[in-house]
Amino acid sequence: MSARDEILNRIRAGRAGPKPYPGSGPVPQRGQVGGEERKALFTRMAVQAAATVDRASSRADVPSLVKNYLSQHNLPAEARLAPDPRITELDWASQPLLNTSIGGTDGSHPVSVTGAFAGIAETGTLALTSGASSPTLLNFLPETHIAVVDAKDLTGTYEELWERLKAQYGEVMPRTLNLVTGPSRSGDIEQTILMGAHGPKRLHIILVDEP
């Protein structure tokens, strides 16, 4: 008998009669907000998770906000852009002091700028899906990750996120879905939280009001 049958048979012999599906629990009130309140909640929770958040009134402001953020923090004036038209089609030439290139990363890029599939206000979390325009490693290898999320892509709760995923991807999930809440951290040395364990030391989010 195969290990598969052996395991399944043991389960069938032991398990109780099927109990009805009980549902997936209450949806926290906190996330059930819209409009400005939703943006404010997203910002508050992201900041609580040690991310920083800038507001842009339109996407056109993104290149200058990126440049300003990097110079304010004394970071290298170069950015690896995700091959996402929402990012690459912006007017990066408006920032002559900022070096940009487009593509995935092998770890040699100190700063990445990516789009986002969604943001979840309930916990200040970004939802990033992998694909040709969104290499996963851009979310992890650079020391600074700048993510651009449109206000229209904010969900209040996780329930809304699952619905949007289904609407966009149907039955087949993207290969990788990253839910990112703040920068990388470790508490493994004396339970003291330190940022930048293996992933980014800084997560900066640009929330765009009108795309």
Binding site: A3, R12, G14, K19, Y158
Partner: protein, 470 residues
Amino acid sequence: MQSTSHLFKDNAARALNDAHLQQALTHVRTKFITKRQDAMDALPEFDALRDAARDLKNHVLSRLDEYLVEFEGNVVKNGGRVHWCATPADARKTILDICRTAGAKTVTKGKTMVGEEIGINDHLAANGIEPIETDLGEYIIQLRNEPPSHIIAPSVHVTRDQVEATFRKIHTDLDPNRNLTEPSSLLHEARVKLRGRFLVADVGITGANFLIANTGSTTIVTNEGNGDLTQTLPRIHIVLAGIEKIVPSLQDAGLLLRVLARSATGQEMSAYTTFSTGPRRPGDVDGPDEFHVVLVDNGRSKLLGTEFEEMLRCIRCGACLNHCPIYHNVGGHAYGWVYAGPIGAITTPALIGIEHASPLPEASSLCGRCEQVCPVRIPIPKMLRHWREEAFERRLHGNRARWALKAWAALATRPALYRLAMRVGVGVLGMLGSRRGRFSSLPLAEAWTRHRDLPAPQGRTFMAMYRGKK
């Protein structure tokens, strides 16, 4: 992993006298507890979510076979493979075969408790493949050649000074005069060292917090991002998971995520929650070419339908360890096997046999805090009692303990005899101890009086006073 659970008493005695360990444990006694409380206070629905999490897990266990088969189908549909392994030996062989076929020389690893269960690191190393732990805590203990001492904080027993000493001893290629005083410099050193290893590894092995039946996805939850580098950079991603990790859908994973990080570290969400579905797709810029899920039973299925079934609800958050007065004092290694603390005390006998772990269910005052904080409401104290009964029935205790318990049972089930014995005992002890008011040593009670005094009884028994009142 070789177990020393049967030696709990000796292990615990050593732990209590270990100054480094006692220093390290102070952080568990305070930080985890206040952070969890803060997270609970910030979410009014928290207790209702725990009820829902318990009910969901019970539902899944009642249809475990169906969900596993559904999961398998969806993994395969998305281009991945599922390997069913009944025993640790099966799982070790399966993983080694995958690594060999790939011609792997190094394997990076995210945190996996099942990996500890099956002893995968030693097996790979014995076969010429180098396993590299990438979670900072796991990396530290791998360098120190120690097992983890906590489910979510594997190096919680190590002090900062010890981490520094270990890094200086192992990282001999670095400047011996470098400054490592700050914890951040230690973190930076590990980051740089491991970054190089990530980039050249052939295979990445991660655990799984959840397996999602209707999408065929696996989920990991980390704070460092090491799991993501482990599973994205190498050519092959192997997911190692216990069969009880399955949930029906994304919504259900969402429910468990709402209680997991809050119970574990007091975060709203851990920094990284990642869902992986199959290997990389055409057009993808990165990601593994192969995706394997190794499903491990190792004694889990035979718990279904027994009084121990409910322990399969565990989502390995570590809250019961963080709130356990015994764990606070002896740390994790005293438990002698992979899982420590209250969940270890009920899981270890189930997975390696009560005959190898009979002292563990005794290592509890049954104070009940573990059950109070468990996000899936596992009745741990009840199960500790079940294991105690089982150990007693199978005569696993010393004769003295057996006779003492038998004598106690004989008294406790005969009220008249019990009252008589109490009256005599209280009277005699009260007389003997009337001068000092306490005993610093007492025959048959040395274990108690060695560390504290026994107060001498004063006056009459409760029953005598009660009857006097009526």
